[in-house]
């Protein structure tokens, strides 16, 4: 499955490389779109020193970790949320009869390497934030762990969104509320939201484990919900649990799928 996925991704990358100017412009566009969020954070901190108890460098750290995970996941696997287009166009049938995992085919289909622009922007923001925060190594090791866990969590969200589209083929935009909405949610400290929302994001849909809980550990900040700081280290476990749920939902969706035939 991994080998086929890599092969398909490489084929789409070579296709994009045929149009160099187009690729460069699209990558620059993705970079600038990522920069818009930073511009918003800049405008917010031009008006205040602290947002819900967090300063600019801390907000940039939380933004950078979540956005790096989301942009990477979106580039590599985000096309899973185009499943409704495949269902409507009938191209899903073609994928189902091939001897390769359907998920890998849908995820790799029309792979857009230009999305690297947004990944680069997110990595740059995270780099600047880390340089300004001066986090000791004893806690900084958690940063790559939380980014990888975040990639798994967001990929699971894309997969859940894709599975949902087997039910809501005519209304695929509902899935965006959970995938892109999840990314938007984690751009700011979760302390801006109602505590009940944060509880839901901890115990039900583990989006708080992308950057909020591990981020509190890395930044050495107390948890407004009062949970001990080691709960921030549970991100990998939360990511695996959500991935398992997403895999089950995807299988259920595929099993439920009935082609319209020819």
């Amino acid at each position: 499955m991994i080998r086929t996925y890599a092969l398909l991704v490489w084929a789409w990358t070579r296709a994009a490389a045929q149009y160099r100017v187009s690729f460069a412009l699209m990558a620059a566009g993705a970079f600038v779109i990522g920069g818009l969020d930073i511009a918003v954070i800049w405008v917010i901190f031009a008006n205040t020193d602290s947002l819900a108890g967090f300063g600019p460098a801390e907000v940039m750290f939380l933004y950078g970790t979540s956005e790096l995970a989301f942009a990477t996941s979106d580039m590599l696997f985000g096309n899973v949320d185009r499943i409704s287009q495949h269902i409507k166009a009938g191209t899903l049938d073609v994928m189902l009869v091939r001897p390769v995992a359907t998920w890998a085919q849908v995820a790799a289909d029309r792979f857009g390497p230009h999305r690297i622009g947004r990944v680069v922007m997110a990595a740059a923001v995270l780099g600047v934030a880390l340089a300004r925060l001066d986090i000791p190594l004893g806690r900084a090791w958690m940063v790559p762990v939380m980014v990888v866990s975040g990639i798994v969590i967001f990929t699971s969200m894309f997969t859940l969104g894709g599975a949902l589209q087997f039910l809501l083929t005519d209304a695929p935009e509902v899935a965006n509320a959970f995938t892109y909405g999840g990314a938007m949610l984690n751009q700011y400290p979760l302390s801006v939201y109602d505590p009940r929302i944060v509880q839901g994001l901890t115990y039900v849909l583990p989006l708080a484990f992308v950057n909020w809980r591990p981020g509190l550990y890395v930044l050495d900040r107390p948890d407004p919900l009062g949970l001990p700081s080691w709960t921030g280290l549970l991100s990998p476990a939360a990511a695996l649990a959500l991935a398992a749920v997403a895999a089950l939902a995807w299988r259920a969706g595929i099993r439920r799928y009935r082609s319209t035939g020819s």
Partner: protein, 264 residues
Amino acid sequence: MTSGAALPLYPRLAWYGFRRHAAYWPAALAGAFTNTVFGVLRAYVLIALWQARPGLGGYSVADAVTFCFLTQACIGPMQLFGIGLDLPQRIRSGDVALDLVRPAPLQLWCLSEDLGRAAFLFLARSVPPALAGAALFGIVAPRAPAAFLASVTLGVVVSFGWRYLVALASCWVMDDRGLATLSLVLTTFFSGLMLPLTIFPGWFGSLTRALPWAAMAQAPSDVYLGTAEPVRALAFQALWATVLLALGALLTRAARRKVVIQGG
């Protein structure tokens, strides 16, 4: 539904635009749901900012929350995330030749259809987020309802004027995706969709409030909240609508000379 065949041409086109989008009502409701979810998330961020800086930009906390849901409601009718016109595809496929030989101006034809589309999306994608915002957070009542509706209509016209220019530019630019991305960046940032333009600092803030994108979401919201003089806001919108439509008319004439119809 009635066929609308008895109507004069342009109202009939608007009616067809309305019906065409009404056929995809589940997609529109899904869009309304997503716009509402993002509205809720943005509202919390704005509340946190306004708690740190009460009265910022001349808005109270309730004004800021209302602003948030009003701008989310503008996404559908004003097409803040996309071009929303068939024109680029028709230019690429060559079908635009047919549009250009019709005995009705292309720009007016597209505008009529777009107004119909906007009317449907106003019902399907603007009213639900506003009602949800009112139920969850409470939003303030409109200061001048009639002026607000006029401002929304002008906002749609300005947005059409801009999108028509971007769409018609496909005649000269091979890859229209790059232009669409540029338009997305400019529109989302400078319309007031991400943050109220009134809190953008210094000369940059003054500049953003004078650009055409401010007429798409910021101006109708300010008319609703009473934070702008309705007459001034409407005049600002009307000015940009005139400028963009005039540019569009000029560009249509240029396109007429650019398009080569292959006979056969």
